[in-house]
């Protein structure tokens, strides 16, 4: 029962909010509390559930969703749950971070005309996302997958009076269709191959094949090779990897809490979850995981270079999300699922924190997003400033923060994998990851120093605060005294909004440390379906699970343990990146200006996303438009004219004979006489008279 309640409580909250808005609109202001409360309740239930799951699996049914056929042709897809430690980790992230963000949004969205609508969508999103991670069959997983896609669409297009937001929502939905098409084909192929969509049964079959191949009898079929590639397309679409990444930066048109919840912490990690969940399917194909790793590493670097030059406050974090997701895919690609899931968790903390603090800045500056107009805001918004600092430290991977442990676990595992397999490809991918780590530190602190350090300057944006602004809360901060004109100057957020951020900041700074030394994530992954397949007879390094480096085996690189090497290297790079950013964007801004002038064209090119959108337009959108125009012309000219003809013919005929019905009795009489005469003549002619 407990597992069933976790998704359905938020679903109930969403329905209640909807009903309230219809019948008791004066209660709309309770929507935020209702939503946050429902998610909080789910979080508590998840904690309870996690103790009963332990390191095992809980399977529980809700109801038989689809069931037909009998015997060998029977098909069942239940609305039922498969909960292993990996699911619990995902659930904790979704409900925990989701709850904190809902509390923040309660303040952030105050006074918005669509207040209740926002929370109805958020609650619905939590329902879909928890269903996605708890599903015991691929069809239910796909239901959740599409559900989060729908909520993402609704929330990106939340400000539906803005054409930009509407376009972004449509773009997200359509680009995701491409990925979902691949995913759906993958599901079909799975059903054809395994005869079921139950995840546990499928993975059991895959592990048997793996064991058979390892023992030298049995072979990997073409279907086995294709399934992971199709599932991968879905994962890349949902998790915004090349070449299907371009919807995510645009998705920032939604409200900022949504960017934090849907487009940073939870939904976009669904692709990583999918691959981790179905890891045995991916291990079957010798090309699948290297492809995942390559796409991940290339995306990580690619998005980092754009984040480096973007002047958009949320844009930097959006590209950074794409980049960090790339790390996670690199992680699963080199069989470091624990690293990937670890990074997923820590990333959820610090990226949610970064987006929410960015939201605070935006809120204070009436929607201003251009960081070049900002500077020295640390005096106006001291709490936000240091909260974002904590998030930036974690994202940059400064030693001992959350991002440091998780990112270095991935990079260390990648290097160890490269050493173990002597793979040039993985050496190259590790190198890309290391370069990205440096860039990440640099661009993160470029943003932070630009916005909060240096001379104080700001320009207000064009969004005016709602009437019930937080003017009364200004007493919280020291600068409230000279903040007379509440709407002309940036102000600190009230503690009702900063409170959740403090929790997130604590997570961003400490979660890595705690999880690293307790080994919680590693333990969870080892006891889930994401555990790497180990076959003692096959493995040359007996007792060496390729993804498990906590134990006896160590890969050495240049005489040093790969993980230690990577930790030292990336610590140096992270600190170097931060220092360089401080130097260029705080101490000596003229250097930054000179460099910007020097590489103006390159920067513009990168800021333009390397014309990817244009290439995409030319390669996909334009041909589709042309095809559409062609079909439209065919419809207009051929189909439509045939229909017009069929409708028009009787009309024209009618027009021809209508004069006969003139209502004059004499002409009827005449016609009758002529008709009879004609008949008489015909009879005469026919009888030969």
């Amino acid at each position: 029962m407990t597992p069933t309640l976790i998704p359905w409580i938020p679903a109930l909250a969403a329905a209640t909010i909807g009903l309230i808005s219809l019948f008791r609109s004066e209660w709309n202001r309770f929507a935020g509390a209702l939503c946050a409360g429902a998610i909080g309740l789910s979080f508590v239930l998840t904690l309870w559930l996690s103790s009963s799951v332990g390191s095992g699996v809980v399977e529980s049914g809700f109801y038989d969703w689809i069931s037909f056929g009998s015997g060998d042709n029977a098909f069942h897809a239940g609305f039922s749950w498969f909960i292993d430690p990996l699911t619990v980790v995902m659930l904790l992230v979704i409900t925990g971070i989701g709850g904190l963000i809902a509390v923040y949004a309660h303040g952030y969205m105050k006074g918005d005309p669509g207040y209740w609508r926002f929370f109805a969508y958020v609650a619905l999103f939590i329902f879909a996302m928890t269903t996605l991670v708890m599903a015991d069959n691929l069809l239910l997983l796909f239901l959740g997958w599409e559900g989060v896609g729908l909520c993402s669409y609704l929330l990106i297009g939340y400000y539906y009076e803005k054409p930009k937001a509407v376009a972004a929502a449509k773009k997200a939905f359509i680009v995701n269709r491409v990925g979902d098409f691949g995913f759906l084909l993958g599901i079909f192929l799975c059903y054809q191959h395994y005869g079921t969509l139950q995840i546990s049964t499928m993975l059991e079959g895959a592990r048997e094949t793996l064991a058979a191949v390892a023992h030298g009898h049995g072979a990997v079929t073409a279907t086995d090779v294709w399934i992971p590639f199709l599932l991968m397309v879905g994962a890349f679409g949902k998790s915004a990897q090349l070449p299907l990444y371009m919807w995510l930066p645009d998705a920032m048109a939604g409200p900022t809490p949504v960017s934090a919840l849907v487009h940073a912490a939870t939904m976009v990690t669904a692709g990583v979850y999918l691959i981790a969940r179905c890891l045995p399917l991916f291990e079957l194909s010798p090309y699948a995981l290297p492809t995942v790793a390559t796409v991940g590493a290339v995306t990580a670097l690619f998005a980092a270079t754009i984040a480096l030059v973007s002047n958009d406050l949320k844009g930097v974090f959006a590209y950074s999300t794409v980049s960090q997701l790339g790390y996670m895919f690199l992680g699963v690609g080199c069989l470091s699922t624990d690293g990937a899931v670890f990074h997923l968790v820590t990333h959820a903390f610090f990226k949610a924190l970064l987006f929410l603090t960015a939201g605070s800045v935006m809120h204070a500056l009436a929607g201003q997003l251009n960081i070049q107009t900002m500077g020295g805001l640390r005096h106006k918004m001291p709490v936000t400033c240091w909260l974002m600092f904590a998030g930036c430290l974690a994202l940059a991977g400064v030693p001992l923060t959350a991002g440091f442990f998780s990112k270095d676990l991935i990079l260390g595992d990648a290097l160890a994998y490269a050493v173990d397999h002597g793979s040039v490809l993985f050496f190259a991918l590790t190198f890309l990851g290391v370069v990205t780590a440096f860039l990440t530190a640099f661009y993160t602190f470029r943003l932070w120093f630009t916005v909060f350090m240096g001379e104080e300057k700001f320009e207000m944006g064009d969004e005016h605060h709602a009437a019930d602004d937080h003017a009364g809360d200004h007493a919280d901060e020291a600068d409230a005294a000279h903040d007379d004109h509440a709407h002309d100057a940036p102000h600190e957020m009230p503690w009702s909004m900063n409170g959740p951020l403090v929790v997130l900041a604590a997570g961003a700074l400490l979660a890595g440390l705690v999880l690293h030394f307790t080994g919680g994530i590693e333990h969870a992954v080892q006891h889930s379906t994401a555990a790497v397949f180990v076959d003692a007879a096959h493995s040359q390094h007996a007792g060496d699970p390729a993804g498990d480096h906590g134990g006896e085996h160590h890969a050495y690189f240049l005489g040093v343990d790969a993980h230690v090497f990577m930790q030292v290297l990336s610590s140096i790079l992270a600190v170097a990146g931060v220092v360089l950013a401080a130097f260029v964007f705080w101490m000596k801004r003229e250097i930054a200006d000179k460099a910007a002038a020097r590489f103006d064209k390159l920067i513009r090119f990168a800021r333009h996303e390397y014309c990817i959108n244009e290439i995409c337009d030319a390669a996909v959108v334009l041909p589709l438009r042309r095809l559409g125009a062609l079909f439209y012309a065919v419809d207009r000219l051929i189909i439509n004219s045939v229909m017009d003809l069929m409708g028009g013919l009787p009309r024209w005929l009618g027009m021809g004979v209508r004069p006969a019905q003139n209502g004059r009795i004499q002409s009827y009489g005449l016609t009758m006489v002529l008709g009879v005469a004609l008949l008489a003549v015909l009879v005469l002619v026919a009888t030969g008279g």
């Binding site: 003139n662 004059r664 004499q666 006489v673």
Partner: protein, 106 residues
């Protein structure tokens, strides 16, 4: 020919009937006055009736003449009805012109 003229033959009667019928028909088609049109239809009746009587006499079969009695009876009733209708129509439009009643056109 003389013989034909001196004693009436079947063809004379038939010719008379046809003339009556055609006169009525032409009158019906060319006249607009509803009373005249009605009288013309009566004339067409008489044409047919003459033909029936002629054939009846020619074949020595009384069925035709019996039928004529019926037709005349019905025609009398019908004349009363039709004239009543004409009076009603006249009251509506204050005219006897049949073309005033052409609303049922296509």
């Amino acid at each position: 020919m003389l013989l034909a003229l001196s004693s009436p033959m079947l063809s004379h009667y038939l010719l008379t009937g046809a003339v009556l019928f055609v006169l009525g028909l032409v009158g019906f088609i060319s006249r607009r006055n509803m009373i005249q049109m009605f009288l013309c239809t009566e004339m067409m009746f008489q044409g047919v009736v003459v033909t029936l009587v002629a054939f009846s006499a020619f074949h020595g079969n009384v069925t035709g003449q019996t039928f004529v009695i019926f037709v005349l009876t019905i025609a009398a009733a019908e004349a009363a009805l039709a004239l009543g209708l004409v009076v009603l129509l006249f009251r509506h439009r204050r005219t006897l012109d049949a073309s005033a009643w052409s609303a049922l056109n296509g």
